[in-house]
């Protein structure tokens, strides 16, 4: 065990003992599971004589989470030993993740499934603490609703959320993303083809990227109307420039020997472009696609703040805040986060397939 693990184990065990002692001030049958967890936590100190596996710590953390969540309503207001138990459960989760990542590190690359366990445990611990703190400390739901409340809202408002998702993601983000990225790519090739355009278009593109989205969104609404077309236009404006700059850089990524080679074959411009320079620009283009995948969603949601039909994620967020329907706002944020991550993930997956040859993907030398 490393020094940190040693320290974590010692504090977790010690704190369990203290909390267990404190818990005797309450009637014995109250919050039995919590007390059992604390007793087990205290007993875990035997690890200094008999080694315990890392899965034991995982079980402690899980038991702690369940015990803490089920005893939330047992005392009102919660007694100090309850909060101590929360800290103990968190320490066990930390210890578990610490040991897990140490033991996984050497074989992380060939074991993606287990590697995923670390962020999952981390995220779950975060959610449990969020739930316990908001409910245990009676945080007003307007400030921060508990995850369970958000989850309930997610389930209850599924039809609304789905309609918003279709309006914002399917109708605004996807077409805007496609048009913006494609036109960025085409203009990059035009810029590459002609020095005149390079001198003229690149500064204009640069200028466009400096336009504040807050400023152009209302103008787009005036130009293209209230529906998804104006949002798609904002997304186009946002995604165009990253694609343009990245592709222009990527088209110059091939080495001079690789280009000389094409010249010795008397290859024409388009053959060189298709067989050498575009493939070599692949990593750059995918970088732009990844940047744009998150930018596009942000752009569409913000654009909906400036006039929209009565549907859409941005519309729901702006009106939800006004009506103090904070649960719904959080549910909408959760949907946006999941949709954005999934979009990014899909592009990253395609990237792995297309630029499999690049050292950053195959994990080898150049």
């Amino acid at each position: 065990m490393s020094q940190l693990q040693y320290f974590l184990a010692l504090v977790a065990g010690g704190l369990s003992a203290a909390a267990l002692a404190y818990s005797f001030v309450t009637p014995f049958e109250q919050a039995l599971l919590l007390k059992a967890f604390l007793a087990l936590g205290f007993l875990s100190l035997i690890r200094f004589f008999v080694p315990l596996g890392l899965w034991a710590d995982g079980a402690f953390a899980l038991l702690g989470a369940v015990a803490v969540l089920t005893s939330l309503g047992a005392f009102a207001p919660p007694l100090p030993f309850f909060w101590m138990a929360v800290v103990v459960a968190w320490l066990f989760a930390w210890l578990f993740v610490e040991r897990l990542s140490k033991s996984l590190a050497p074989r992380l690359s060939d074991n993606a499934g287990l590697g995923l366990l670390v962020p999952v445990v981390f995220g779950a611990a975060l959610l449990v603490i969020w739930e316990v703190v908001t409910r245990g400390a009676n945080v007003p739901p307007v400030l921060l609703p508990a995850p369970s409340a958000i989850g309930a809202q997610l389930a209850n408002s599924a039809p609304i959320l789905w309609a918003d998702f279709v309006q914002t993601f399917i109708k605004s983000v996807l077409p805007g993303f496609a048009i913006g990225c494609l036109s960025g790519l085409v203009v990059a090739i035009l810029v590459d083809r002609s020095p005149f355009l390079k001198a003229g278009l690149l500064p204009i593109g640069n200028f466009m990227s400096a336009l504040p989205i807050i400023g152009i969104a209302p103008i787009m609404v005036m130009w293209f109307g209230f529906d998804w077309q104006s949002k798609a236009a904002v997304v186009v404006a946002m995604t165009f420039f990253p694609m343009l700059v990245n592709t222009v850089a990527g088209l110059n990524a091939s080495s001079s020997i690789e280009r000389d080679l094409m010249r010795t074959y008397a290859a024409d411009y388009w053959q060189t472009l298709l067989k050498l320079r575009l493939p070599a620009a692949g990593p750059f283009i995918f970088n732009a696609l990844k940047i744009n995948s998150t930018l596009a969603l942000i752009g569409a949601i913000v654009a909906e703040f400036f006039g929209t039909p009565v549907v859409g994620m941005g519309f729901r967020i702006s009106t939800g805040v006004g009506r103090l329907a904070i649960d719904l706002v959080w549910a909408e944020i959760a949907v946006a986060a999941i949709a954005g991550s999934a979009f990014y993930g899909v592009i990253a997956l395609i990237e792995r397939g297309v630029t499999f040859w690049h050292p950053s993907v195959r994990g080898g030398r150049a």
Partner: protein
């Protein structure tokens, strides 16, 4: 047999003919004379090595033949045509210092790259890829990607790529410079066999005296500042050359003459 090749050459247009060839690069620090007054004739079937210290213009001369650089004075013809016409007629295959295989293509696809560009049909492509891969002993590695192969195998694949469209002239710019000596010896003897089988004209840039003497029928010694030809040595070594020919007196005599030619350019004393 060697005589046959020379005799044929005399009645045909030379493959490469340079007269008073000069090339000056304009840089911010002033003009750099890369080639000055180069006169050289290379006939069909010859194996010509260019040797000299760095900066002597040997690579520049090769690039000028390939129309990758434009001469600023004098006359240069490839098969009686200008370098540009020759390049557009795909008159030569070029092997660079680095393999420069495209990492997103398999070895087989890399070898087929010039064939795709030149518009060969699928059947022709497959046939030629098979033949040239066999010629450089790379059969069985068709589906591998370049990064999965050793440096020597990568360079062999790049030679296969230069051979695939069957140009009569092969230009090689220090192709084995980055390889260790054991691999280099092996590839040198394979290159000789390949030259014998294909009857191509080869121009080979190197800075290794044993390599130049071992491979060549003609050795062009060059020296820098300005880049120029100081000696042209016709080698009378037999065409059949086992690796241990390098210990024979004939070999050592030629090597000594090359060394003298390099010293006459007294480049090393001046080199900073």
């Amino acid at each position: 047999m060697v005589f046959d090749a020379f005799e044929q050459g005399r009645f045909m247009t030379p493959v490469v003919s340079a007269q008073n060839l000069g090339l000056t690069f304009k840089t911010n620090d002033g003009d750099v004379v890369a080639l000055s007054d180069v006169n050289l004739t290379i006939n069909k079937g010859e194996f010509v090595s260019f040797i000299g210290p760095s900066g002597c213009g040997k690579t520049t001369f090769l690039r000028t033949i390939a129309d990758l650089e434009r001469p600023t004075s004098g006359k240069l013809t490839i098969n009686g045509q200008t370098p540009e016409v020759a390049r557009k007629a795909r008159a030569y295959g070029y092997v660079f210092q680095a393999p420069a295989l495209y990492p997103w293509r398999t070895i087989e696809k890399n070898v087929a790259l010039p064939l795709e560009i030149m518009g060969y049909g699928a059947g022709q492509q497959a046939e030629r890829v098979r033949r040239t891969m066999d010629l450089v002993n790379l059969s069985g590695f068709e589906k591998k990607y370049p990064w999965q192969l050793s440096g020597g195998m990568q360079q062999r694949a790049s030679i296969a790529r230069a051979l695939s469209f069957d140009a009569d002239l092969l230009l090689m710019d220090e192709p084995f410079g980055a390889l260790d000596e054991i691999v280099r010896d092996h590839l040198n003897s394979e290159l000789l066999k390949l030259w014998d089988r294909t009857q191509k004209t080869i121009c080979f840039v190197t800075h290794s005296i044993p390599e130049a003497v071992y491979l060549s029928t003609k050795i062009v010694v060059m020296s820098p500042r300005p880049g120029r030809v100081t000696d042209v040595i016709e080698s009378d070594l037999p065409k059949e050359r086992p690796l241990d020919i390098r210990e024979t007196p004939e070999f050592l005599t030629i090597a000594a003459r090359v060394r003298d030619g390099l010293r006459a350019g007294h480049s090393y004393e001046e080199a900073v």
